[in-house]
């Protein structure tokens, strides 16, 4: 129904206008968040090797596909269905549009608008993991994991935070999903990459990490630009309403990302002697992830500080997981999404403006509980998959490339690869 229709059906002008403006803005947010899939796909493809490019593209496509279907059938009900004890949603399975009220609304929006918006967020969490498990995971196993995160992992913690569960009652503030989306993805990435083990050749006989450079920086950079672009939809869209604060949210988002990029570049310049391209672009994402929880409640200057912290942190975190923990994370997803997601959520407790009532303690409880839940669930899921389907491809497949063995194709049929 358009504005005239709504008014005819009995709404007053203000109400009807408000509704439709909120619909438009939420749709714009949803559409932009969808496009993050392209950003992740390009980023992950660009930062890994050419012989596995077709495979990583397929994984990125398929986790959106499975996420869309399964979140519709099961996930939405678990996340937004009628709350049971603050833990889980229980209604709306198989057709969540039934959750709409008599006017077709759910949480103040037409139910379809609300579902599509949450579908694309769910798929974002799922897609984070493919990067850290790249270049060695069996395709079928990846599909199984992807189904699991969309059904049993993301919607549950999502219910706690955004679906009327116990964390939302507590006053935990995660505006657009530093924790709900990014940290959830990042923790799954950590568990997955750990169980999987490092790529062949990643660690020398002396245990030192070796560099395995990404094969296509322009598309990786494009991926980051796309993600930054879409993040305006992610953060500003999370108002799910046309409001006067959209510009403020865009400002904090943008300043944090800029500060983080600058910080990451500076740190690499100092530590490695040269400004590192791939790490600098990771820095942008680190800043975006970190500001996501508090983009609506911190000042511009606080956003800059949050960005600087994230940009510095991400470099050290990547090195830490690479050199100390020795978890092989080809694209840095654990540090970018997991670590910066958690830290950004906590910093929201530090920098939230007066009057918001956000406290560090509540933020800490939220981060810790979600972290624990997701870690345990991911451990269970990946272990089951490993024991049944098997997580990892054979050594020969890994050496010769997943494209040839898993898909019978090459991503660059007209070019020779080096080495």
């Amino acid at each position: 129904m358009d504005l005239a229709g709504l008014i005819e059906s009995g709404m007053d002008v203000a109400e009807a206008s408000g509704l439709l403006m909120n619909v438009m803005w939420t749709m714009i947010g949803a559409i932009l968040v969808y496009f993050m899939q392209a950003g992740f796909a390009m980023c992950e493809a660009g930062f890994t090797r050419a012989k596995n490019t077709g495979n990583i593209l397929m994984k990125n496509m398929m986790d959106f596909v499975l996420g869309s279907l399964l979140f519709f059938v099961l996930g939405f009900a678990i996340m937004h269905g009628k709350d049971a004890n603050g833990i889980i949603g229980t209604t709306g399975f198989f057709n969540p549009t039934n959750l709409a009220d008599a006017d077709g609304l759910f949480n103040g929006l037409p139910v379809g608008v609300f579902i599509i918006f949450h579908t694309v967020f769910c798929a974002t969490a799922a897609t984070i993991v493919s990067g850290s498990m790249a270049e060695r995971t069996k395709f079928a196993a990846y599909l199984a994991y992807s189904a699991a995160i969309s059904v049993v992992i993301y919607p549950v913690s999502g219910h706690w935070i955004w679906g009327g569960g116990w964390l939302s009652s507590l006053g935990f503030h995660d505006f657009a999903g530093s924790t709900a989306v990014h940290m959830v993805g990042g923790i799954c990435a950590l568990v997955g990459a750990t169980i999987l083990g490092p790529r062949i050749g990643k660690y020398g006989k002396d245990g030192k990490p070796r560099a395995i450079p990404g094969h296509n920086l322009p598309i990786a950079a494009l991926g980051v630009f796309i993600l930054w672009f879409c993040w305006f939809g992610f953060n500003c869209g999370s108002t799910t309403a046309a409001t006067t604060s959209l510009g403020d949210i865009a400002m904090t988002t943008n300043l944090a990302a800029a500060a983080a990029t600058l910080a990451a570049m500076a740190v690499t310049w100092i530590r490695y002697g040269k400004p590192d391209v791939s790490m600098t672009f990771n820095g942008s994402l680190a800043g975006l992830v970190a500001i996501t929880a508090g983009c609506d409640v911190v000042s511009n200057w606080s956003a800059i500080i949050i960005g600087l912290v994230a940009g510095i942190l991400v470099v050290f975190s990547v090195e830490f997981f690479d050199k100390v923990v020795k978890v092989d994370d080809p694209v840095g997803a654990i540090s970018v999404h997991g670590v910066c997601g958690a830290v950004g959520t906590l910093l929201t407790g530090v920098f939230a403006m007066d009057g918001t009532g956000i406290t560090f303690l509540h933020q800490l409880i939220g981060v810790a509980s979600v972290m624990a839940y997701v870690a345990i669930m991911a451990l269970i899921v990946f272990t089951i998959i490993d024991k049944t389907i098997g997580l990892r491809v054979s050594e020969q497949e890994e050496r010769e490339g997943l494209d040839v063995h898993e898909h019978g194709s090459s991503a660059y049929a007209d070019f020779n690869f080096r080495l």
Binding site: V404, G408, S409
Partner: protein
């Protein structure tokens, strides 16, 4: 002087370099080639159409060495690069008449 022309699986390059380094081989020319030999390729399907990929990516390493060490190198390479499966590769031995170092103009063995 002899030239060894060594065709191997790409992933064996590091091992081969290690062998040559240990024997003080001073220079290499490395090329990416497509090889065709006893090793069978893959059957691929692209959009429903099957095709054989019987050309496989290989690495060719050429090194010009003193006659005296050629045989030692061959023995070591066979010993250490061998996996016993098709596609392990080959070594071809050629006579080289002369070598010139452009930087200095040196000739013959001095140029290696």
């Amino acid at each position: 002087m002899k030239k060894l022309e060594i065709v191997i699986q790409p992933e064996k390059l590091e091992d081969l370099k290690a062998i040559l380094d240990d024997n003080e081989v001073n220079g290499l020319m490395i090329s990416n080639i497509m090889g065709y030999g006893n090793q069978k390729g893959h059957k691929k399907v692209y959009r429903g159409a099957e095709y054989n990929v019987n050309l496989l990516p290989k690495v060719k390493v050429e090194t010009v060495v003193e006659e005296s060490i050629a045989e030692t190198l061959i023995t070591k390479i066979v010993a250490e690069i061998q996996t016993g499966t098709y596609g392990d590769g080959k070594i071809f031995v050629h006579e080289v008449e002369d070598a010139v170092r452009i930087r200095t103009g040196e000739r013959g063995s001095d140029a290696l």
